[in-house]
Symmetry: C2
Subunit: 182 residues, 2 copies
C-alpha cells in the first residue's frame, strides 16, 4: 500500500509518500513541502497548494491520502489556513477517487512513538529510524507527513487484516500484527 | 459587472448572481443553495460543493466571485466546515482566473442596510427590495449570497471609479457615487 501523507498548512504543507505492507519494512518514496508565499492572497495560495499536491499525486500515484485532522481548538491565527489547505488536499484526492483518511495528531504520535503526547523531536527521530533514513527529514512538517503515512499503513493495515480475518477465518492474524507494530 | 456571491457552508452554501453597474438598477440572475448531506464524509461534501459551484460558474460566467470572509471567532463547531467550503469556492474561482474578493459580514450588512449590525431579517428585506423581488429569497444563506454580490458591486465599483479617476483626472466621480450608494 502506497500512502501520501499530508500535514496541511498554508505556508508549509508537508507531504510524504510511504509504501508498506503487513510484516514488511516501510519504504519512503518521497518527502517534501509545498510552500506558498505569505504575501500572496489566500485564493492564490490555495491554487498553488492544489498545483503542488496534484504534482505529488501524479508522480507517486498513491492508493490513499492520509491527512492530519484539524481541530478548531488549535492556534486561532493559523487554524483557518490549515483548515483551508486540508480542504484542498481532500478535494485533490477525492476528485481522483482516492480514499481520504484523517488521523489526529495524537493518533499519529502514538503510532510512531508509542505515546500520543510525544514531542516533535521524538516523532522526527522515530520517522528517521522507521524509514531507515540517513538524515532526519526537515522541516518538521515533512516529518509529520511521513508519520501520517506510516500511521495509516499500520492502522489501516490492521483494520484491513481484521476485515480479511472476518471474511476468511483461517487467516493467521496475530503473528503478523506483532511483526510490524512499532 | 456580474458577481457571484457565495455564503460558504458545508451543509448549505448560499449562491447568488447579481448584475449591476454604477447608476443602474441591480438585477438578480440567479439564487440558490448548494446543499450537502450531513451524513456524508467531509471530503465527499467538499467535492459536491465544488461540483455545485462549477455548475453555477458555467451557467452564469461571472466577472468576479465575492465570498464571505470567515473568522475563527465564529461558532467553533461550524467554523472548520465554513473555512473548508470557502477554500473550495476560492479555488473554483481562481482556477478560472476570476478575481476573488472577501467581504466581512459587517461590510455586507452595512452595504445593504446602512448598519454593520443589522440582523438577518433586515438583510433579507433590503435584498428583496434592492433586487425588486416578488418574494424574499430563502433560506437566509441564499439572501446573504445576494447581499455579498450587491456589496461588491457597490464597493468594487466605487474602488474602480477611484482608480479610473486617478488614471484620468477629468472623469466626474462625485455625482455618480451619489446615484447608486444605498
Amino acid at each position: 500500500m502506497r500512502v501520501l501523507g499530508v500535514d496541511p498548512g498554508l505556508t508549509r504543507c508537508g507531504v510524504g509518500v510511504v509504501e508498506g505492507a503487513p510484516g514488511r519494512p516501510l519504504r519512503m518514496l518521497g518527502v517534501g513541502v509545498v510552500r506558498t508565499p505569505a504575501e500572496d492572497e489566500v485564493p492564490r495560495r490555495l491554487l498553488a497548494i492544489e498545483d503542488g499536491l496534484e504534482r505529488w499525486l501524479d508522480e507517486h500515484r498513491p492508493d490513499l491520502v492520509a491527512i492530519e485532522r484539524v481541530f478548531a481548538q488549535h492556534n486561532v491565527s493559523t487554524v483557518m489556513g490549515t483548515a483551508q489547505a486540508s480542504a484542498v488536499a481532500m478535494l485533490c484526492a477525492t476528485r481522483r477517487g482516492l480514499p481520504v483518511v484523517l488521523h489526529t495528531p495524537s493518533e499519529v504520535k502514538a503510532a510512531v512513538t508509542g505515546s500520543g503526547r510525544a514531542d516533535k523531536a521524538q516523532v522526527t527521530t522515530m520517522v528517521t529510524r522507521l524509514l531507515r533514513l540517513a538524515e532526519p527529514p526537515k522541516p518538521a512538517d515533512a516529518a509529520d507527513a511521513l508519520a501520517l503515512a506510516i500511521c495509516h499503513i499500520w492502522r489501516g493495515s490492521a483494520d484491513g487484516r481484521i476485515a480479511a480475518a472476518l471474511a476468511n477465518r483461517t487467516t493467521p492474524t496475530t503473528k503478523a500484527s506483532k511483526e510490524y507494530r512499532p
